[in-house]
Amino acid sequence: MSAPDTKSAPDTKAAASAVPDVRRRRRPVTGSLLVGGLIVAVVLGMALLSFVWTPHDPTLVNASARLQKPSLEYWFGTDKFGRDVFSQILVGSRTTLFVGFVAVGVAAVVGVPLGIAAGMAPRWLGELLMRANDLLLAFPALLLAIMFAAVYGASTLVAMVAIGIASIPNFARLIRGGTLQVMKTEYVTAARAAGRGPFAIAVRHVLPNVSSLVIVQASVGFAIAVLAEAALSFLGFGTPPPTPSWGRMLQESQEMLSSAPRLAVFPGIAIAVAVLGFNLLGDGLRDRFDPKLEDRR
């Protein structure tokens, strides 16, 4: 038992927690955050490394080294054009991260203000904004990107913007939920009573309080963007050649499945691991941040 030198007036917080509510105890720091963070760091590291060093030129066609098995020279082997698979994976991580950053950026820049506005607006207006927002859910990232590509032709930019627009509803909905909760708090009531305008309240009170939601959603949105980019490149609507992209590597591997299945395995693993990393990071961050603002939809 603990030494009995308890102060005469322990603080009220401690007293309130005297009933151990086991089921609501926060989970101990999960492995998700650690593993997710580590994977994301590795992907980032690969992208940075690819700027200064790759074992081979990833775009160099070498007819004498076609379809090599993995070796010391070619760690992951070579493809049907004799290009080094490992180098392509390294440089491909750049494409993946670039698309993710821009897509998440577009989604956050539009979605966060939209969500805050919908949360602070009068109820009917907020509902209307959310209905419009939900309408966008009828156009998933891939569909939107295909529409864009039909009009403007396939390019990385088109893919990024389409994925970004398609990710807006997730941000807006989540942030509106958070904003509605913040607006109920007493410090916001106090700020309003003190005559602060809605813009000041949004910037000073709402934004800081929903920022953890933004970070979590950004991480999850990143995973979605990586998946969408891979699918788009696979279909030929994403990154055009010769820039290496994991999705397109998979597409190119398809015709060689019977003779060289490893060509599908390496980019496949790269995609899955990167997505896993961002998902785990998002989960881990959600556990770390205030669970009260967690939107459980």
Partner: protein, 316 residues
């Protein structure tokens, strides 16, 4: 109840109108001249003018919009700019194929996710639950087309049990139809199922913490029966929401899967039309997919009313 129903129908109609305007604006107005897009830059001005006249592209945009909507509503969307063939029958054919694929994928996902997710929730502190959790996390990270490629590598190329690709209508050869359906449906269903499992898990976990489940046990129900009788209906509300959202993902996922398995579905039609610069076809297919998603959302709203008596009352 009636008020709610009317309200939901109103929302559905409004959503359909707004999304059709959006699609029209994007596909028919933004590109400038669809006839020019269809024929390419090198086409002569007279050829372009001829095509414009033939498809009524020289009329005011409002007129064009209404004639397009009229075509959709009457199931007669006219002819393609490129192949000059009727669009309606093509879409109907392809839609059938895609619906088989999506239906089978969805069914597989549910069969996988509902028991697994429930099991994971019930055992969430035990090693078996944690392992299942980790597995589902990995499953979520695998794109459907990658799953497809891997399945083909193992079961078609490696073991030779199933055909690697192709499509046979069920009326023509039911056995071949099923054989060819298995791998694409699995690719969609496994990945979607992994995602769904996580939602089922968290919905069931939430329900497990509810007081009424304790009441049910205090009545003398064993934990499993208490969960089955009192929990699942309550857990269904959030799961049904997610199912609806997933249908949109599945429809689009099918686009990619159709490409992997060379299946002549709506997705292949969409992709071919994009490569052919057949904008009117793209416009129609996109609208069909959006309509399907909105319709499912509407059905989900109706299902809520059936599941949750609190919503029926009309008090929000």
């Amino acid at each position: 109840m009636i008020v709610r129903l009317v309200q939901r129908i109103g929302i559905l109609l409004a959503s359909l109108v707004v999304s059709s305007v959006l699609v029209f604006a994007f596909m028919a107005v933004l590109p400038g001249d669809p006839a020019r897009v269809a024929l390419g830059v090198s086409a002569s001005d007279t050829a372009v003018a001829q095509l414009r006249e033939q498809f009524g592209l020289d009329r005011p945009l409002v007129v064009q919009y209404f004639s397009w909507v009229k075509g959709l509503v009457t199931f007669d969307p006219g002819n393609s700019y490129i192949s000059q063939t009727a669009i309606g029958p093509q879409i109907a054919d392809r839609l059938q194929v895609t619906l088989w694929l999506v239906g089978a994928g969805m069914a597989l996902a549910c069969i996988l996710a509902i028991p697994m997710g429930t099991l994971m929730a019930v055992r969430h502190r035990k090693p078996s639950g944690l392992i299942l959790s980790a597995l589902s996390q990995v499953g979520v990270a695998v794109p459907a087309f990658l799953a497809g490629i891997l399945l083909v590598t193992v079961f078609a190329v490696g073991l030779g049990w199933l055909p690697a690709n192709g499509w046979t209508p069920p009326a023509q050869d039911p056995v071949m139809f099923l054989k060819q359906l298995v791998l694409p449906a699995l690719s969609l269903g496994l990945v979607q199922g992994a995602m769904l499992t996580r939602y089922v898990r968290s919905a069931v976990l939430d329900v497990l913490r509810e007081d009424y489940l304790r009441t049910a046990r205090a009545k003398g129900l064993r934990p499993t029966r208490a969960l089955l009788r009192h929990g699942l209906r309550n857990a269904a509300v959030p799961v049904v929401t997610v199912l609806a959202l997933h249908l949109a993902t599945l429809l689009v996922g099918a686009v990619v899967i159709e490409r992997v398995f060379v299946i002549p579905g709506l997705g292949s039609l969409l992709l071919d039309s994009v490569s052919n610069r057949d904008l009117i076809m793209v416009q129609d297919v996109v609208m069909i997919i959006a309509m399907a998603v909105l319709l499912v959302n509407f059905l989900v709203d109706i299902i809520y009313l059936v599941i949750d008596p609190r919503l029926r009352a009309g008090a929000s």
